[in-house]
Symmetry: C2
């Protein structure tokens, strides 16, 4: 048991990711009313108590029952653990609670690969999405935004697809920054195939997350439903290039409905790949031209803008890994990620992951490639001697 | 005397365009308080009654008095008449009353070259402005907007400058449409020199207007002050390409202050020539990508959208030239401008000018290159037999 989640609950939720498709609101209602363990018990009962899980058509529920009986959640958890992954549930300390805004369409759980704390990273995250078949202009803008956001201490979230997604992730990685790929397949599946190396780098330097159990492959509807997770997870969504009726506009509109900041980068009106963005900008979305303008918008909203308020939690509530990295920073002056890693005796990727978390929580500042403690006792227990 | 304007008043106002610079609010107050004739009388009096025209510093008023004494308004009116021009005053039937929104900065009068009725044309006009040193993209967009607006029966207003202005005028002319150039010099001066042919074509097929008497040359401040006339005259202003702090942004902000619709065409964020437009679009301005979107915006505002309400004045109030062209249209079917001209026994340019006026007033419709009567008795006196 971790946090408030029992092993039984975790196994039931892991199993349910094999039973129902992402975003299914009917099973969301079942989970809310009966809990995951009870829902699995009913689905796997020798005689199905149909009336107790209302709304499942007979043929559909047969598929649910077959997949529930066949599910091997222990094996899935082992498979993912073997590649450095885990399965997060609502109630886990690392669960990003902004996903609760999705209501009954909230993910049942998140399969995850990579060391960083998703909840902390999501506090200062922006999604950058756009066309797969983007123009060189779109790729350039996405990469520039990705690195600009990373340099300003923001986590870049995208979908690991060709085009804008890939360019945004690569921009963040190139700046030594933090990036999260939300997948429409298992976190052990490299899709698209030719992004295998990029996805591998994100797993090492950032986070891969998804709703589907290991081995799952993407489908058209899984791509569409994945977009709601990107929208809900982040403080805002920037669309770089998108045709009319494209998937990126689905993400942007989902972000709008969830009250997240929706932004668009304009392009030539002669380009069909900017037409969808311009349509968006003629509505509620805000026109942005660089990372500063994005940060100005997402930094303003919500109650969590740590750099203005100091740390959002006391130092003695930090996990041991974060506290260890914080100790490795000198009282005065700045160090780059490699030096912090050396002083803490951990890998550079691990150090950078923790530094981004500490940055999200307001304990450290970033100056170019270097990191330093936020000066002064901003928070009662934010001193070198504070804490337990 | 034409309309409510006496010959004395017209001469005084024509003379005053040699005395004070465009947009001077102090002389605007004098005119409002004493009338043009009295202001000229005081400025040319042998002993200047200084206290009666308050606010003119001593050195400045000496210049005013010298220019007032030297002014030869009859000669200026003759010069302009010789090239097919005239001088419009507030109170003239063709005076565009929306210029009154400029308050004390309202033009003293407008020197004008070309046959069409400025007041009627201005009812359905949009300005298209932007950078002189525009990119090929900006020129393409301006020309496309110019012809698209003209094809939809809108009058394209701009400043006859290099770049976006010239492209917008040319687009309108190429579509056989109506266009107005607002000049920062005399209507007999071709500026810029290499636009002499374009300016000549506008004088024949459209209208050249300006606040400065014949022979006047543009200055930096005259360009800036000219922009307020473009903004006030039209229902909305579209900025195509503009750098930070450019003159086009001055026009756009003037339009905004006057409650006109302000629009911008986006471009690549990597282009400095779109940076000013993007700044505008991050404020109050509306993003537009084509002529349809412009027409949708400017067609909605104000009380004058003739195509939705039918004619704005009864047929028997039309001038003889307009009535003559209206009679030349068949009861059924459409004709192009040349055929209308042949039937009316006038030149094609003259016929198109009148057709645009009739279009603004809701009597005729345009279908591509062809013109036809608005079907049905939309207005009590809009019948073939109506009128005096």
């Amino acid at each position: 048991m971790t946090g408030g989640v029992t092993d039984e609950e975790r196994l039931a939720r892991a199993a349910l990711t094999r039973v129902v498709e992402p975003g299914d609101e009917q099973s969301g209602r079942w989970l809310r009313q009966h809990g995951a363990v009870e829902v699995m018990a009913r689905l796997t009962a020798p005689v199905f108590p149909g009336e107790t899980l209302p709304g499942a058509g007979e043929r559909r529920i047969e598929g649910h029952r077959r997949r529930a009986v066949e599910a091997r959640p222990e094996r899935d958890l082992e498979t993912v653990a073997a590649i450095g992954g885990r399965f997060l549930c609502p109630g886990d300390p690392q669960w990003p609670s902004q996903l609760d805004d999705l209501g009954d369409a909230r993910p049942i759980g998140l399969w995850l690969r990579g060391a960083p704390d998703l909840r902390t990273w999501a506090l200062r995250s922006v999604s950058v999405v756009g066309a797969r078949a983007c123009t060189p202009y779109g790729a350039h803008v996405a990469a520039t935004l990705g690195s600009g956001l990373a340099e300003r201490g923001w986590v870049v979230v995208s979908g690991a697809a060709y085009g804008v997604d890939g360019a945004a992730h690569r921009g963040a990685l190139a700046a030594g920054g933090a990036t999260v790929a939300v997948l429409a397949c298992g976190v052990d599946v490299a899709y698209p195939r030719s992004h295998a190396e990029l996805i591998g780098r994100i797993a090492e330097q950032g986070l891969l997350i998804g709703e589907l159990p290991p081995g799952s492959h993407p489908t058209r509807s899984r791509f569409v439903l994945r977009n709601r997770v990107i929208a809900a997870l982040t403080r805002g969504t920037v669309v770089v290039e998108a045709e009319y009726r494209s998937g990126s506009l689905v993400t942007a509109r989902a972000a709008q409905r969830l009250g997240r900041c929706t932004m668009g980068v304009p392009g030539p009106v002669t380009s069909g790949l900017s037409a969808g963005v311009h349509e968006l900008l003629r509505g509620e979305a805000v026109l942005v031209t660089d990372a500063d303008e994005v940060v100005e918008l997402v930094g303003d909203i919500g109650e969590l803008a740590p750099e203005r308020r100091g740390p959002v939690l006391p130092r003695d509530l930090l996990g041991p890994a974060e506290a260890h990295v914080l100790e490795a920073l000198p009282a005065k002056g700045a160090l780059d990620g490699r030096d912090v890693a050396r002083r803490a005796g951990i890998t550079t990727d691990e150090a950078l992951g923790r530094l981004y978390e500490l940055h999200s929580l307001g304990f450290v500042e970033r100056q170019g490639d270097r990191w330093q403690l936020v000066p002064g006792p901003i928070h009662p227990s934010n001193s070198r001697r504070g804490g337990a």
